[in-house]
Amino acid sequence: MLEVKGLRKVYKSGTREVEALRDLTFTVENGDLVCLVGPSGCGKTTLLRCVSGLLDPTAGDVRVDGKAVDGPPPGMAVVFQEYGRSLFPWMSVRANVELPLKQKKVAKARRAELVEQSLDAVGLTGSESAYPWQLSGGMQQRVAIARAIAYEPQTLLMDEPFAAVDAQTRADLEDLVRQLWKRLGVTILFVTHDIDESVYLGQRVVMLSSSPTVVQDELIIDLPDERDQLTTRADARFIELRTKVYEQIQAAKRNAGQ
């Protein structure tokens, strides 16, 4: 279980203080897929960096299965928005996926197996020896996802992973995330600014306010478990839910304006 309690983050530069996160509390049960959605500039990335242990919060804490996070936890993998910068351009696709496993001291044979399985799972069999920059944006993000799942994490954090890919690729990748989540039983915290994406993917959507950020609202997504781009997005309930989320986000922006 991932617990975020009273999380606050203030950036200091000289005498100026910027409060990015004010007070955030939410939990993600093991095996859940929760989407975090908020207006742009609401500190989503700050939140994710705190959750992943890359950034120390000013107050409050993050716990994974009851253990406080003070540095990247071993059972957690992160998929960053900037796939072009997060994959190492000096390494082949295979080496990129394999490096974290080498660090985990996974035996060689098992490593080869994991690399093959995870590349296969994201539909990239045969691209092992290519360099990331030889692939399209969507394929690069697939490599980043393969690297994350090969790591065999209990928790997977995704920071606006599809913000930089085109709409059709994005739809494919969304389905890929749902499919991997169901198959691997991994806990996913998915951060996005795209309201439709959050409703389509999540079991639950946590809405954030504008900065300084608090939790605006939470919504259970009671759509059928089997989702597909055509029928789910045309479903009356889907539209109802996305409207609710949209209203909350708008309300959050209005509050910020006052």
Binding site: G53, S86, W90, P100, K102
Partner: protein, 258 residues
């Protein structure tokens, strides 16, 4: 293929034209200090025999290689340490700027006092001159490593030596190579200068000997040999660089196309 021939043609056209010009213009020269090129070329063949190469060129090259490699080792090693630590940077930067501003040739007499006039002195002079561009470029390269790259490494547990060898060094590689390239030409200059001060063999020593004994065509032939040597070394460097940084060329080409 035709393209390659054309490029090779363009590359050798100017050197051939310059040599031809020199040959024609100097053909009837009566000036003792500027003999005809034909005479210099004859002297070249007579002077740089296998024995000469072994007795004078080989020691020079060995000192050059030893000094250059030592400087690379020290420069990259210290550069990584300084680039990674803000505190170390703050303490060392003024001192580094001071040492860098000292023209290395003025240190030859000083280093002679400590290291004598043997190989140790020459290697020390080369190291002292070469280390700065390597060190400062490495510091800059390490400092400029993308934050997303470092975050990725950290969140996947790539720490310690693996972080240096698999992440920091390759990421800073292009800039380190720029420093190494600058240092190579400095190394050649210092190799000659250190031998001109005090030596019993070596290229610089031989050229000065020719000059002092008024063997003018031989002196010119030595200068041509030095030029050829510098050209050959930078060619070798470019080949090695292209091999190691092939990913960087590819990445840049992909970025330009995208």
């Amino acid at each position: 293929m035709i393209n390659m021939i054309r490029r090779a043609g363009l590359a050798v056209a100017l050197p051939i034209a310059l040599f031809a010009g020199w040959y024609v213009l100097s053909a009837g020269s009566e000036n003792f200090y500027a003999p005809p090129l034909s005479k210099i070329l004859t002297a070249f063949g007579d002077t740089w025999t296998a024995d000469r190469l072994r007795a004078d060129v080989a020691p020079s090259l060995l000192r050059l290689v030893a000094g250059y490699l030592l400087a690379a080792l020290i420069g990259v090693g210290a550069g990584v340490a300084i680039g990674l630590s803000r505190r170390l940077r703050a303490t060392t930067e003024p001192v580094l700027e001071f040492f860098r501003a000292i023209p290395p040739p003025v240190l030859v007499p000083v280093i002679m006092l400590f290291a004598g006039i043997g190989n140790g002195m020459k290697v020390t002079v080369i190291v002292f001159g070469c280390v700065w561009p390597i060190l400062l470029n490495t510091v800059e390269g390490v400092r400029a490593v993308d934050g997303v790259v470092l975050d990725t490494a950290r969140s996947y547990g790539v720490n310690g030596t693996a972080r240096i060898t698999h992440v920091v060094l390759p990421a800073a590689g292009p800039q380190i190579a720029a420093g190494l390239r600058q240092a190579l030409s400095i190394a050649i200059i210092l190799m000659v200068i250190s031998e001109m001060f005090a030596a019993s063999n070596g290229l610089g020593f031989t050229i000065v000997q020719f000059q002092r004994s008024f063997a003018i065509p031989e002196m010119w032939s030595g200068i041509i040999l030095l030029g050829l040597l510098g050209f050959l070394l930078s060619l070798l460097f470019r080949l090695a660089e292209r091999r190691v940084l092939r990913w960087y060329e590819g990445l840049r080409a992909a970025q330009r196309a995208g």
